[in-house]
Amino acid sequence: MNLRLKIQDSKLKNLSLFTIAFSLFTANNAHAMHLAEGILPLTWSLIWYAIAIPFVLYGIWRIKVISKHDLSFKPLVGLLAAVVFIISCMPVPVPTAGTCSHPTGIGITAVILGPAISALVAAVALFIQALFLAHGGISTLGANIVSMGVMGSLAGYITFKLFRSIRMNLMISGFFAGLFADWATYLMTSVELAAGIRGEAPFLPLLTQIIIAFAPTQIPLGILEGAMTAGVVMLLYKKRPDLLVKMMVIRPSEVKA
């Protein structure tokens, strides 16, 4: 009985510390990188919605299929969705640029849950942020899902699989997955912005200007994102390697006895 109380007490302490730490980190003004309300013309908003919706629907279908056979899958999705939501609300000051931006956390979900469910997780996080946190916008939600949820997830997932296929270790693969997921998100945001605002101006020079403007902030932030992704993947590997095997992140032979 005593042991039970001790375990519950330590769990409560862990949970409280976790919550306090996250609340402190997220209590700040919105320094978003997402496209704000009204930035894109209606035509472009609809195009990005049309691209995003199939990925989100496929993500919903994937969750239904996997959670039928695996009871621990929904808690895993819940955990990672909360993590992505928190991380993508967290403004990080970048001293090299003197600006703030936030990591996306999308590399983590791309590696562990796959790109389709990752796109769905991003869509949910972005929707809540657009609605209540003045972070992004409803008209630009489709574009933001495409950049963070679709492009970020695909870049993270493909990078991770490529690195793993050449037998790179888990930590390095996770790091580069996070790095490229972050950079791909900002690259896609730049494409969406340049396409939406250019009017009669040529596309490529404007795109280059936007990418150059993002670079001083996003290059260091991508490295942070890579470190965070590697950290979460390694933490799960240490604590629940069976989950990573189930999600085909690692091979069964890689689990230490």
Binding site: M1, L3, R4, I7, K11, N14, L15, F18, T19, I20, A21, F22, S23, L24, T26, A27, N28, N29, A30, H31, A32, M33, L35, A36, E37, G38, I39, S72, P75, L76, G78, L79, A82, F85, C89, P93, P95, G98, T99, C100, S101, A130, L131, F132, L133, A134, G137, I138, S139, T189, L193, I197, R198, A201, L206, I210, A213, F214, T217, Q218
Partner: protein, 107 residues
Amino acid sequence: MKINVKNKRLFLLVFFLLFAIHFSLFTDVNASEKWQGVDESVIEKFAKEHGIEPKEPLINTDQGDLLLFVFLIAGVAGGFIAGYYWRELINYKDRNIEKAYLRSKKL
């Protein structure tokens, strides 16, 4: 060298001091522009140059300290959800250990 609690605290203190000094000295940005989000410094800047102004959000919480409050609520809610599922997933081993212990004691 063995790292004891005192050394750890000293290490943390030095780390945070260096971090603070780095932030206060090594930025050459004007106070008015300091720590602007990239939404303002990049996205809105380029949009304005092309004659586009961002619109007010559907539910505008960016008023005074209201946004701080909403962010705090979001952080707490997100933190609790993450903590809850983390416990569900990770501490399951503790429950197994506890059950094994109780079985061994025939409780």
